[in-house]
Symmetry: C2
Subunit: 192 residues, 2 copies
């Protein structure tokens, strides 16, 4: 009963990430699920609704994750490590949702679009705050904090391509460690 619901949702997101939102047709989705097109509308009100639900769902995951990290009483270096873990975990567990964050969110309609952008900015600001704190404390080198956030996050955001589209050659743990070394070296004041 809920089974089909879930399969429908997963297959839809998979298609969105493979072909893009606009490049995905309800007929193709029906094809993959081996059912009739009209049938899909038992699961969703519209094609757009699927995108909207997914975008806000994954966005929420990030907020829950970052809020937990913020509340931890650990050093800034460790917080950065935790953010990397957050990204890698979500990339491995929800790869297709992640891929929406790179581009497909553009296809959101108002007012969802504005709300999404606002929430995403709020997330980025939380990261920026952590980095800024690190700079003030002297852990991180003094650079444009907005650029630092951006470089940091864009390194992470595209992980999906490398580790779902191609066959992964590095383990999750190894990936995490190397990402950490790379990113933290770029931000850190002293040699890590």
């Amino acid at each position: 009963m809920k089974e089909k619901h879930i399969r429908f949702y997963k297959e839809a997101l998979k298609l969105f990430s493979e072909r893009g939102f606009k490049g995905t047709t309800m007929r193709e989705l029906a094809n993959r699920l081996e059912c009739d097109v009209a049938n899909l509308y038992n699961y969703t009100k519209s094609k757009h609704q699927i995108l909207e639900t997914a975008c806000f769902s994954i966005n929420n995951d990030f907020h829950v994750g970052i809020d937990e990290i913020i509340s931890m009483e650990i050093q800034t270096n460790n917080k950065i490590h935790q953010i990397i873990r957050l990204y890698i975990n979500l990339t491995f567990t929800k790869p297709h949702e992640i891929s929406l964050l790179v581009n497909e969110w553009r296809n959101l309609k108002e007012p969802a679009l504005s709300r999404f952008i606002q929430e995403r900015n709020a997330f980025e600001n939380k990261v920026t705050d952590i980095l800024r704190k690190g700079m003030v404390e002297g852990y991180l080198k003094n650079m444009d904090v907005s650029l630092a956030t951006y470089l940091f996050l864009s390194s992470l955001r595209l992980l999906f391509d490398k580790y779902t589209m191609t066959t992964p050659k590095i383990s999750k743990n190894n990936l995490e460690e190397q990402m950490y070394q790379y990113v933290l070296s770029g931000l850190s004041k002293v040699q890590v």
Copy 2:
């Protein structure tokens, strides 16, 4: 005579990067150019042709750039710096073409798609070779060279968003220097 051709081409790419290839309609393009839809087909054989031309054009720019860097007799560190300059220059001069490289290339049809992927891989391999050489020479820390290439390039590839979609707060030179510090710190064996 060539004037309109150029304006047509530029406006098309601007739309592609704003709304995506599939999200761009010939009617909207005509609207922006203040002409009739049918008129567009005086400039191109098809909508797809515009994308194809642009993708291979910007790809070629990157190959020309990297080949020149390869042929330079300078240290690996400097080559990395040059690659960053290449990206930043192209991002500033051809922002909309750059944005095609992130996603819109997916909309290429065969056989253009395969050819594009092949050329892009060739470019990435050239970068990988430079990084590997740096590791062998001891300039760069020993990490998975494929991951290093990927982290390096994805930091650069998304520059477009930050510096055309939002109002730039950093100058081109400042950006270049900070990018260099960030990236090279992440890759370098010793403190830069």
